[in-house]
Symmetry: C2
Amino acid sequence: MNKPVEENNVTWFNGYLTREDREKLHGHQGVVIWFTGLSASGKSTIARHLEKKLYNLGCSTYVFDGDNVRHGLCGDLGFSPDDREENIRRIGEMVNLYVDAGIIAIAAFISPYRKDRESIRELLGKDRFMEIYIECPVDVCEARDQKGIYEKARAGIIKEFTGISAPYESPDTPDLIIRSYKEDATAAAQRVLDLMEERQIIKSPAVIKPPLVIRPV
Amino acid sequence: MNKPVEENNVTWFNGYLTREDREKLHGHQGVVIWFTGLSASGKSTIARHLEKKLYNLGCSTYVFDGDNVRHGLCGDLGFSPDDREENIRRIGEMVNLYVDAGIIAIAAFISPYRKDRESIRELLGKDRFMEIYIECPVDVCEARDQKGIYEKARAGIIKEFTGISAPYESPDTPDLIIRSYKEDATAAAQRVLDLMEERQIIKSPAVIKPPLVIRPV
């Protein structure tokens, strides 16, 4: 979708600081933890639990979800296949900059298309992208839904609703599967954290930050 | 531009952590330092000097500029008035989330239209947005330009070029004016830093971080 550099009339500026510098400051890697799954499958809830656990370890982290991004950055987009693709593309580019900023970006989006999620993995590189599949049968999501959106989707009031009138493509090889219909949100978040430690994104048993050096500026 | 919430089929999720929590972790406020000015006026250079000074104080910060954003998030946009407006709108929404993440976002964009910059000030609130005007006569920018883009603009090869064939609207009441044609980039960055200390965005003489509490998760 991007134009070649020559056409765009822009060039990369080589900054003074690198991602490694910022990771050193934060005491952990910059990565994206990407939750995918149906609406009301528990993505945002698990993401918030993970955020809290990471915060308690002193990690710099932020949660993005369909709701806060759909109001702002992607407020001009709807739910057609093209708009969903552009929605995920923009989010991918945004979280890519968070990774460069040395932050743990937690993304909780339905992100129904396999190819869109794969584009983000390619953009970020496989070491910077963890795909977590929140598996939950649609009837469980529907029973759990407090916003009444499944009801509206069944009634045809909401069009192109994932799982009802629009497709969801589950990941072939996610980094982790969480079966949220039988797994507690806190325990699920802990499993993500364990995997992050195992992969040395954060240090175990706690994040060891380098001493803060106050140098004259 | 955003659709009403009802149409969008999205609602706000009340997260567990607040901006205040994240500011406490980082030891400073989440804000946007917004540099505006002509191409080659020195925005990115001063921004990078500021970034380094902030980093040395232990602040969590990140620089966005026309170049790195134009390759990614706004790679689909050109330089027409509408595209420039959408470019700045998306950047505004993105940096708004950085502020919420408790980070010092440094933005260095030509951002030629007053109303677009004002929209961002409104979105963020005046206490979270500092507008820094990099004042530099177009002939100085042109003489300084190493990319040869002014030459191309003069020759009509690049269309809609700010200062040559597209307008630049200088700020009426910027938070700070830097006259980059007679002021050193490091000294300019220091003046921004001084203003940030004066406004208690960061603490003087150095950022005092709270002790890192490692709690069991």
